[in-house]
């Protein structure tokens, strides 16, 4: 009976040299044209993204501009109404109103003695 296990593949040195040509490695390189084309496409894509975003931003600017116009228009109308309200509540308007002309003359107030 053998007391020792002995690999049939031999020593480490032996197996290395035996398996070295199992896969064949070849160096593949892109040509200049392909690289230029890929680079160009990437630039194009980035450019498109930039253009899209810029257009989007400009659209927002237009929306903003419209909203600002609306706000200033509404504010101007609010101002007009405030002016109208002030005119209607002025003393002269109140004194010359129909309601005032139908009111009896005021009498001096009486005061109760404390």
């Amino acid at each position: 009976m053998r007391n020792e296990y002995v690999s049939r593949r031999g020593t480490v040195t032996n197996s290395w040299s035996r398996n070295q040509n199992i896969v064949r490695h070849t160096t593949k390189r892109l040509g200049n044209l392909s690289l230029a084309a890929i680079f160009g496409m990437m630039v194009l894509i980035v450019g498109l993204i930039y253009a899209t975003q810029s257009v989007k931003a400009t659209n927002y600017d237009y929306e903003l501009s419209n909203i600002e116009d609306e706000i200033s228009d509404l504010e101007a109308r609010k101002e007009d109404l405030a002016v109208e309200k002030a005119r209607l509540t002025s003393i002269a308007a109140a004194e010359n109103s129909q309601v005032a002309s139908n009111m009896p003359d005021g009498k001096p107030a009486g005061y109760a003695n404390e």
Binding site: S65, A76, I91
Partner: protein, 578 residues
Amino acid sequence: MKAREKVLKVGLTVAVVVILLQLFLIQIVQHDSWVKRAEDEHIVQSTIKAERGEIYMMDGDQPTLVVMNESSWTVVIDPMLVDAEELESTLSKIIPKDKMVAEFKDATADKTRRYYVLARGLKRDAAEKIKEAALVGVYLKEGNARVYPEGQMASSLLGFVNNDGKGQYGVEGALDKELAGEDGVLKTVTDVNNVALSIGDDNVRVPAKNGKNVVLSVDRNIQYRLEKYLKEQMDSSTATHAAGLVMNPQNGEVWALANLPTYDATNYANIEDASVFINEPLESAYEPGSMCKTFSFSAAIDQGKMTPQTTYNNSGYMTVDNWKIENAYKGQLGTITMQTGLDYSLNTSSMTALLWLGGDNNQITQAGKNILYKYYHDLFGFGEYTGIELFESPGVITEPDAADAYNSRYANMTFGQGMQITMMQLASAFSSVINGGEFYRPTVVAGEVAENGDFLYQDSPESIRTTVSTETSSTMRQMLYGTRAYKRTNGTDKAGYYIGGKTGTSQGIKDGAYTFDETVGNYIGFGGAEGEMPEYVIMVKIWGDGKKMEGEKDAMPIFDKMSEYMIDYLQIKPGGQN
């Protein structure tokens, strides 16, 4: 072949060098110039107009708007581009006549001009109609206009804003800086439609700081009523002008400041008589007349030289510097009290007070003049600005050491002639005489309305100085109350109220000399509950070119009505009935 290659190479090299040189020239040498041209093309810089602050008056204890802003449009045409016939036929139906600043024919006559203002102050509806008409060569310029919901009320107090947006006269002129605010700046990249774009590194936006919304201490109800009564008195007499003021004697707050005739501030450019712009109670110094006896008497009482019951001999006149200075009222001759002298407004009584101030019963002395000047100028503030927030005149008081400080001038000054002061100076000094002796700087500003609409009160005014003692003040109240004894008898002054006052009829000045052909009627007085301190001071003045107005006949009735109104308006309960 070789030669052709060479030519090609040289040609290409030259072309590249030319291009590089051109690039160098554009990008390096002319860099700034091209950047500027690009910016001019794409970047728009405009001013963000600050909104002018609005003006409020008090309405009881709440501020209410009396001067507001409203959008208005100016119509500008390019005479070279417009079709004159179409322009007139279209715009004459839209633009109100009073808004036109030029005739259609004049505006379109000179075809070489590129800019002509056709109309100003258009309202929104008219501007929208013009926009819809889309006429070639017609442009609309939006701006702001002031609006006065109370009409012509307090016009000389408020002033107006001219076409350049600058405040003129009154509150608008004096507080122009606070009301105007500060314009902002907007610098941004725009597209062909002039829409601001968010791209670009140089966008700048400095927001405008809107002007302050000023709240006046003037109460619109009191102002309206004062103007109404002044107008009624003018209509019932031959007077052509009247002015008045109402103030709180306990803190110097002005409640009304009126000047008649008023004017339409929206149409200021067409006013022919520029004197209507003058805020009479502050800007016009004049000889106030016998109301000044209040102050010469106060000085003598404060110096311990007299009481209301002190007597003197009224001969009807006094000779000073060889001038015979007479009483207007010829009665009450003989020995009379100073109270009687004040009741009948005798010039001899106030001149006697000056004699006593100088310590000599027979002649006016330098010491007497010095003391009178100290009271008039140093304590009552005559001849100096009161410090109110508006434009004012300092007036003129002759110093006792001046070459023209004649005894006769000082004798005249005891009854309000030979000196020039404003109504505001007089009313402020009068307030101190009857309020216990405290002089308050008059004010027309109560505070401001913040952007969020909150009313922020200004600090309550404090007394600047003491003019007379509390005892003198109390004595003067009694004396002034005494002058209205017959007003209580005939029922004008109601029981339970303590109302006092003094008339003043001052001579006009024609060609540098006093004349009796033209006189100014004045009255100043106070009122409140009996046993309490006065709550209001009212002063009125009425006059006209070549008209003889009197304090008692023409000015006092205005005070009487106004005093009654103030008692009701302030809800002053009658005192002294327990």
